[in-house]
Structures are given as C-alpha cells and as structure tokens.
Symmetry: D2
Subunit: 338 residues, 4 copies
C-alpha cells in the first residue's frame, strides 16, 4: 500500500500516518518528492491494512493498493490450473466442457427430452433451474424441489450431471442432495450469506459474474467460497451491463484471458445470457472458446417459443448440435478438444 500525502500536508500529519503504520505492525518507507511525499507501507502484520482509514486521515490525498485483495483465488497462491471434476472430465483441463439445457425445468417430460437431446449432441452436463430468480414477482418462479427430482430422473436416464441454481442459503443442503453443481446466479454474486453457505457445503460451485461486478469483485466473491476450504469452484463470465442495448448484456470477452492470468480457477462462458438472442449464440460461443474459455453453458429448449423463461435466447436442439460442431473445430484450432 502507498499513502500519497497532499501537497500541503504538514509534518505533523505525516508523523501521524507513520505512527499509525507502525502501530498496525508495518514499516513505512518515505519518499520525498519535490512536490509531495509518498509513504510506502511494507512488511507483514496480522493487522489487515484498511485503506479507507488511511484515506480518511488529515493530510492524506489518496491511498494506492499494490497487492491484489484476494489470496486463495490468485495465481500467486496457486500457480497451476485448478481442475474441477465433472462427468469424467476435468473443468480447466484440455477438454472444453459444455453444460446445456433449458433455462427452467418446466416438467418431467420436457427436462428428460432436453437432457437426451443435449447428451446426443455431446454435452458434458445438464443445466436447468428449479428455483428461478425473476425480475417480476408475477413471472414463473420455478417448480422447486419437484424440479430437482425431475432433474435427478434426467440424470439417471442420461448419466449427465446436474447444474442448478440455488438462491436461498437455507435451501443449500436440500439442493445439494440433488445437484452435482450448485449455481450461484449473477444477481446473487455478492449475496455474501449465500456465498458462505455454498462455501460451507463443500459442493462444486459455479459462480456467475454479477452484471455490474468487476473482475476483481468476482475474485473477491470467489474468495468467500474458497475461504471455507471449498476449492471446487468454476467461474462464469455471462455479460455485463453497459449502455449498449442491441444485445441483452455485453459479453466481456476480455475477462476470459484476464481471469485465466489472474486466477487458477477454471473459467467458462455463458453466451446465451451474454448476448440474449439465439441468432448470436453460436458466434459468441466460438469466440469464447477461441479466447481460452474452459467451457460453455448454453440454454437449449425443444421449443423456444413455448419456454417458460428465456425463450428468446434458447437454441433448439438442432442448432445446439450445429454449435457443438463449430465449437469442436475451434477447440481443435486452439489445441483442445470439445
């Protein structure tokens, strides 16, 4: 951490900053410029440095953090890629995994039909929501535990592991009984109560980026889960909110290589939410894999025009099969399989 003093800071104000640094257990390293003084804070101490408090001291202009605020999630802590097992593959390994299925679990028949279709096309896992976060209280909210049971049936028939969202910290133990992977949705990325609950569960977690969360925010949210000793964590870029309204969100493609550099955790992409229109899902899926994504999560529905949610962005099984073909070719072009 670096404390930048104001141009007109008094020597007393500087002395107070230095005293505080020492009482926090660090050493201060003073660099007097022609215009102003800069104080480097070095060393280690059990007391975490509170930038904000230093920023609120008199005579301080600003405080600049040097180290990343996350630890367990960083490549410095864990240089090698973390591998998270999923259906015989390892997410984060050579194979690009593809999780596919409908937005919501709409019925027993529907989810089984979807599961068979995505399996046929080569999906690694089945997605489907039994608890749905909906902007409107009047929209379909999901079938709840019944939906989980249907998912379990679909798994039994196809062998595909299940990825499903959990929204309520109190329901984490119940959802764990059915799900192979707990999904934390974008709107809950900073629901710290939920992050603690899924961390404690020791279940595999898929953490989606919040629509206005920075890459650093995402790694801090990951840190909440990792801090419980739960290292089975997959990150997912799903688009951020910007001024552009031609698409539902703006897919932050840059985030894929940036995350792969900053963290050892596997990173997948959700083109369906990132773009919001089925006609653009295929190019975005290809691009994500070309940029180094370890996998994809794709909305597939037998009949998008009848879907209870997200029909506008769902691929038909036919289109999904075609997407898989394209993704395989891109995966090969970057030295991977899909």
């Amino acid at each position: 951490m670096i404390v930048v003093m104001k141009v007109d800071a008094s020597s007393e104000q500087m002395a107070r900053v230095i005293t505080r640094i020492e009482s926090d257990g660090y050493k201060s390293h003073i660099s007097e410029g022609d215009e102003r003084t800069i104080i480097g804070v070095v060393g280690e101490s059990p007391t975490p440095l509170k930038e904000e408090n230093y920023g609120a001291m008199e005579g301080v202009d600003k405080v600049v953090r040097i180290s990343a605020p996350y630890k367990l999630a960083s490549r410095t802590f864990h240089p090698a890629d973390s591998l998270v097992p999923l259906n015989g593959s390892k997410v984060g390994g050579n194979k690009v995994v593809v999780i596919a299925g409908p937005c919501s679990v709409e019925g027993r028949t529907e989810i089984i039909e979807a599961a068979c279709a995505v399996k046929e096309a080569g999906a690694t896992a089945l997605r489907g929501g039994a608890f749905k976060p909906r902007t409107s209280p009047y929209s379909f909210q999901g079938h709840g535990e019944k939906g989980l049971q249907w998912l379990a049936e679909a798994r039994e028939m196809t062998g595909l592991p299940i990825v499903t969202e959990v929204m309520d910290p109190a329901l984490v133990p119940m959802v764990c009984q059915y799900a192979d992977v707990l999904q934390v949705g974008a709107r809950n990325m900073q629901n710290f109560t939920l992050l603690n609950a899924v961390g404690e569960s020791q279940h595999t977690v898929l953490l989606k980026r919040g629509m206005s969360c920075t890459i650093e925010d995402m790694l801090m949210a990951a840190e909440y889960i990792l801090a419980h000793g739960n290292m089975k964590l997959i990150l997912c870029e799903r688009g951020i909110r910007t001024f552009e309204k031609a698409t539902r969100n703006t897919f932050d493609l840059n985030a894929i290589p940036v995350l792969k550099r900053l963290t050892h955790l596997p990173v997948i992409a959700d083109p369906s939410h990132a773009v919001g229109y089925s006609e653009y899902v295929e190019p975005v899926a290809r691009a994500a894999v070309a940029a180094g994504a370890d996998g994809l999560i794709i909305e597939v529905h037998p009949n998008p025009a009848e879907a209870l949610s997200d029909g506008r962005q769902s691929l038909t099984p036919q289109r999904f099969a075609s997407m898989m073909e394209q993704v395989r070719r891109i995966a090969e072009a970057v030295g991977r399989t899909a």
Copy 2:
C-alpha cells in the same frame, strides 16, 4: 404489447402469432404498413403476456412492451403519495427526514455517542449496520445480534428509531425484534428470497437501488415486497456504477424526479455512498433535497479515520450539523421543512 413482424414474415407466421394472442385470451389489432405488419395486443386476460415467447416465434422481429411491468408500485395504481411513518414524521410528507449514523455499529459506547450527536443535529432516525456486506471475506463483518442490542440501547437513550440492514432471509424475524426499519442493501436489491422475507415481515423496509439496476428494476424489486401486502416501503437512490472513477459511484440525480413521477412510494437519497468522499457529501445532499428527495441517509462517525468501514465517506458530527443547516435552507427553498 406490440408485436413487430419481420419485413419478410409469411402470412402463416403472422397467423400463428394471432392464434397465440387469442389463445392467451387477448385480441389482436393488425396494422399493415407498406414495409411490415405490426400487431397490437389488446384486452385483458388472466394469462400474463410473455414477451420473450412472442419474440422467439418465427417471423417476429421484435416485441415492444407498452405498459409498465409493475402495478402496485405505480402511480396509476395509487395516485397519491404514500406516507410511511417514522419517528412522528411521515416519510413522503412535507418534512425531509434525515437518517444518520455510522456505517457499522462498532461498539456500545460508539453507537450511543453517534446517536446522541446525530440527534442533537436534528436527525430523524439512527442508522448503523450490525450485519455488514463486505466485498472481502477478510473485512469486519459486523457484530451481529450484539450490535442490534446496542442499537436498541441507543434508541432507548435518544428516542431515535433504528434503520439497520438485514442480509439473511432466515434472520429477518430476529432483526425485526430490534429494528424499526429493515434495510435491504444495494447488493441484495435483486435477492428475491430476501425481498420475499422482508415483504412477509410486514415491517417498514428501506430498499436501496442496486448499483447496476435500472429504475424499472428497482420498481420491480419494490413490487416483490408490495405483493406481500407490505406497503411500508421507502426507496433509496445511492449511486450507480459507471465508467467515472473520480467518485465511488455516480449519483443518479435524475432518478429522484423520475421515481417521484412513476411511483407513489417515498424516495430518499444516500449521498455518502453515491459519492464516496466526505468532502462531497454536503453538496450532493443539498442537491438531492433540491430535486425533491423525501429524505437523506448519511454516514456520520465520531472519528472517520478509525471507522471499521466507510471512513472515507463519513462526516464528523460537526460537519453533519453543518450539513443539516444547509439542508434546512434548501428544504425551505422548495417549500418543505427538514
């Protein structure tokens, strides 16, 4: 709702749209242009119209919603201003209410001292967090129920009602035992499990705008609470996330008059979070009241440089008293009191 057909839509595709409109219980009103056909959907039906499904039908270019998706929150439903009682005042009435106090409840003495100071300066209610949503799992997370007990003591001594955040749906009943107003924080604005829980509680709620949520998203979140019959709801603009980094967030001043027009619910502003630096809190507070805000929520700390959270944006009690003077003059200039 209006369904805009593609330029090259076939008559069969159009017929299928019309059939669907009718089977949903509405009437279709066809407008054939030179270039393309537009279908208006009119009438009422118990079946909600799913824009997304129509958007996913073949031959459909786009779907345009005409009516607001919220009902109970709208001025159409409830034309008069809703008044929410708080400490003998009515939030949403002539008096501009001011909720003030530290970000976190840090100790018994500290919160009592802060309560006395803000009361002295004319605050309407006391704020203070016992459960803190922190970006980092390594930051101070709040004193929990003990913090609530200290808040209750401070209320007993000063008569100021308590506004405090609740993060965990399971803890809503417990927090209700202490708090006069339940705060739902920005990061939880679309935590629908929590919205349902505070709605059911029938307790007064302060709902803060999510940092990337639109005004419409906010009214939909309000709708979740109102749908439980809990009309004691106060909305709070607290800044949105934009590209500008000179301030912590970008205060969306426009949102105040827009919300006052769209909804009957009272609207307050949080200049502390909206700007993030104590030196700018006063002008933003004045502006919010000048624009028509029904109240303010302000972070005040006896010693900001020692605050366990948000020190950089906290006013000292002296500055807060000065702010109150300024706010009173602005309130008078717009025909209100403070």
Copy 3:
C-alpha cells in the same frame, strides 16, 4: 509516478528501469517490500514521463501516476476561482448565470421571439445552434451563417450575448464574428483539431463534457484550450452515458463539486440534455445550483412540439420563467443570486 515491479522481476529488469528513470532526468527511490519492489520516480526534468513505456518494460507489473496530468486547469496552478465575463456578470462569481434559448435557430422571427422571452424571465445570455451536430444525416443540420446573422439581430434587440456551437475548425474565425461564446459540443470534446482552433481564437469558450468522457478527460480537453493562452473557458456537465435508459443521459451531479475542487474554471450544468424530458428539467436545474454550479444552460422553445430539434426536452417560456423563480430561491439558499 510509481513503478510497481512484478513479484518475480529480476534484478537486471529492475536495473533497466532505474537506468531509464535516470536517463529521463529523474531520480529513483527504491522501496523493497517482502513481496515485491516499488520504485518511486521523483524530481523534475524537461522529459515528460511516459507511463506506457515503463508499463511495457519487462519485469514491470504496473505504473501508478500520482500527479494530475493537467496543469493549467488545476487549482494547484491557479488556486483562486477564474471569472469569465458574460453580459456584465462574471461566470464563476456569486451570480448564477442562465443561458437559455432554442436548440436550433429555426428562423429570424422564432429566435427573436425566444430571445425576448428568455430575457424577460431573467436569462443572462441567449443560446441557439446555427450548425447542428445531428446523429442522422437526414435530420435538419442548421441554417449556418444565416442562423448566426439572426442570432446577431436577436442580440441587438435584447442585449443578450450569444452562445452558439462551432463544429468545423475552419469555421471558427467566421463564427467568432457573430458569437460571444463558442460552444464545443459533447461529441467534439475530444476533437483536438477543434480544441486547438478555439484555443487559438482567444474567444470565450463553453466546453461540454463528452458523454463517455471522465472528469479527467474533460480537464485534459480544457488543457488543450488553455495551452493556447485562452483562459476564458467555461466547463459544462451535461450528462453521461450509462445503462439507465429512463432518461436521455445520466446527469453526473457529483461532477459539479468534484470539478469545483479540482479546477479554478467555472462550471455550469445543462439539465436539458442531462435528463432529456422537459418535465424533469426544473428539479435537475435546482439540484445543479444547490450543488454549486456557477450557471445553467437551458433549452427553451416557444412551441416544443414544433421544434426542429430537441423538442422533447425544451421548456416553454412560461415553464422557463417558473424555473427561474425556483432557481433564484435555491441560489439564495446557498448564498448566491440568480
């Protein structure tokens, strides 16, 4: 400037950074932490420091700038408020100036009528565009020099000085013959050719913030003008582009106190563009003055439904007169006049 070395930087890489600092004419101040080394760059030199080049050196993690990149625009360079004369007032002084008039100059009669109306209500200056930057090539582009002549006539009749936009660097001398204040529009805030031309003109300039420009970008654009020795410069906040679409732009209210602290230049606000709907112009205008704006620029049109541009956000003369009353009361509440 501070150069933060990578955790694994070699001593050779560090030596190369130090050599470069010295050859650029500065001194380096090394601070060895437990994890990594930080190099402070101090002293003065005619060679400007190129952060980007240091950032591109091997072994460098990142480069942190400490000083503001603008000089002439900063309060450090010029601590007192700059005052820009306008119609007997000084923009930046105690009086809140109000520039008002139609978006476009539509005809001789119309602009004279508008000028009389805004003068009657107490405006300080008349605005009106003769050259219009329009998103569409098919929209009305302005009457050009004829429009400027009509503006000059309106000035003669009312005594109101003229504020008008210039878009083409080649036309700056011609526009200077008519205009009292040259407006550089938001879309041209980083049109450096134009900034140089208006700087050279030594005419009073009104510089509007670009819709995606930071406060720092704006001060750098100001620096282009000031670097020509032209200090008659007024800055204008007019809303930025964000995800919120309920209003045309998002008025960055925070920018007013931030700019007033960083720069000595006067700062005015444009509520008409900032919000985009006439029904919200009054509260935004009140708020801007409450936050410390030195003036306002307001679109007023005798008949908004017939305006050739920006009708949706234009006030009628009656509403403008009412706004002036409100603004006067707010100005008094902050110890100013209007």
Copy 4:
C-alpha cells in the same frame, strides 16, 4: 412509428396527433386498448417523421420507432455483403485481412522496419499514425505530412497499402494523396464535419466505433459517409467504455455478429485498443475471427518499451507472427483463410 397516448389523454389531444400525422403525409392506424390508445403511423411521405416532436405533444406518453433510422447501411437496402478492395484481397470476402503496424509513425527507419516485419508475417496492409489524437496536449502529436511521406516510402518497399488516421477535415485531400485507407478514429466517430469530408473524398474509409457509441450510432455515422455515394467503407469494433477497469476498454464481441446481421459493410476488430495490454491481444484476436470478423487491425512495434504511443498494447514482430499463426488456424476452423 407508433405513438402511445397517455392513459388520460383527451380525444382532442388524440385528434391533434392524427391531424399532424396526416399533415406529415402519413396514415394513422388507431388501436384502442382497454387502458390506452396506440396510434400506428403507416405509409410513405417525403416528410421525415420527427419522433421528438410527437413526443413533445400533449397527451402523448411515448413514441416507439419501428424501422431502423439508417438506410444505405442496412441489409434491407443492400442484402449482399459489400466487398471493399484492399491489396488484392476484398475486405468482407473469404479472406480475413490483417492491418498491422505501429500506433505512430516515429521515423523513416522505424516505419520501414515495421512494414517489413508485418509483411513477412503475412499482414495485408500497414497501419501507422502521422496525425495522433492524444488525450494530453503535451504528448507526441505525430510527424504530420512527413510521417505520411515515410509511410509512402514503406509502401513502395513492401507493397503494403497504407491505413492512416485523418483528424482535420481540411487535411482530407492532402492525406488522400498518401493513404490507401483513411481512418476515422473513435473520438471522431461523431465528428460530422469530418464524416462529410471523408465521404466526399470517395476514398476508402475505416470507421472506428466511438467508445460510448451504440451499434446504431455507428451505423448512423456510416450513413453520413455512404450518403455521399462513398460505399468503400469498413467498420471497426475497438472496445467500448464500461465500469470494468482491468482492461483499457471492453471489447464488444457481440457487436461483430450483430453488425454482420444489420449491415452489408465489412466489419473488422481492433484487439489492441479493445484490451489495451499486449498479453491479451492474441486471445482477443482469435475470438474476433471466431465470431466472424472480416479482419483485424493490430498494433505492432519493434520495441514496445520505446514506442512514442500505445507501447503497452503493442505486440513485438515475433508475437505478431505467432498471432498470425493462431489466427490462420481459427480462420480455417470457420471456413475462411487469413
């Protein structure tokens, strides 16, 4: 266009809207709902419909545009892909073109060296700026016409056509004497004077997306150029400004397939500016081609740490050659060459 009346609109207000529609030469198609009336505007007329004016009429709630506001740029107007010749290739055809070179032309030797290196690696054209738009007036502004002469020499030696930026409308004829392609930079995307000048020149133009411009804004800027009969236009996605600061801009990958659907014009990508750090340029370049980009523009510098501008994002010739290899494999995977 659709005019949505307010719920409480009077029949007189509606009549006035209808009268206006008719006097503008269109037909109105009234759709009376249970709650409110919607008026469709159909037919053709030489009078363009001014949404804003209708929006400013009494009794009107909002106006919804149905057709795209651009014509010449749209697929409806020109269904087949437009092909723009460049160095024997056609931009927009099967081959993915790659334009490469330094940000600025820094000297005769440097640009010739760079030209040879990028040619060797397989580039289609040479980029290099002689006129540089710089945020700071104190930064290197380019060598001007001398830089153009050096570019011409480099072309003579390598056969690579030249892509270079023009900033001043008055200099368009001069730049045309040297350049094969005129680049309009992001900060000038809505500099309409410049758009008109490059349109009139009938020279090939590369139009970069403004950092806060929507896809529609970009197509409207294209329309300015096309309206002069200049159809030799290439669009370029180069990243937009968002809240994420881990990268210089946010590459809007979605924009590539969206533009390819909306317009017939070729679309290329600029990964260098879109991400801003050389270590991420390769994955972003691969992704752009995977998503369907017709080409790339890449900053390459023999010694990035000494570059006069943009060193942080420039590839060395070695890295560029490696990038070309990767891009070729991706191009093949999508059925193209590079």
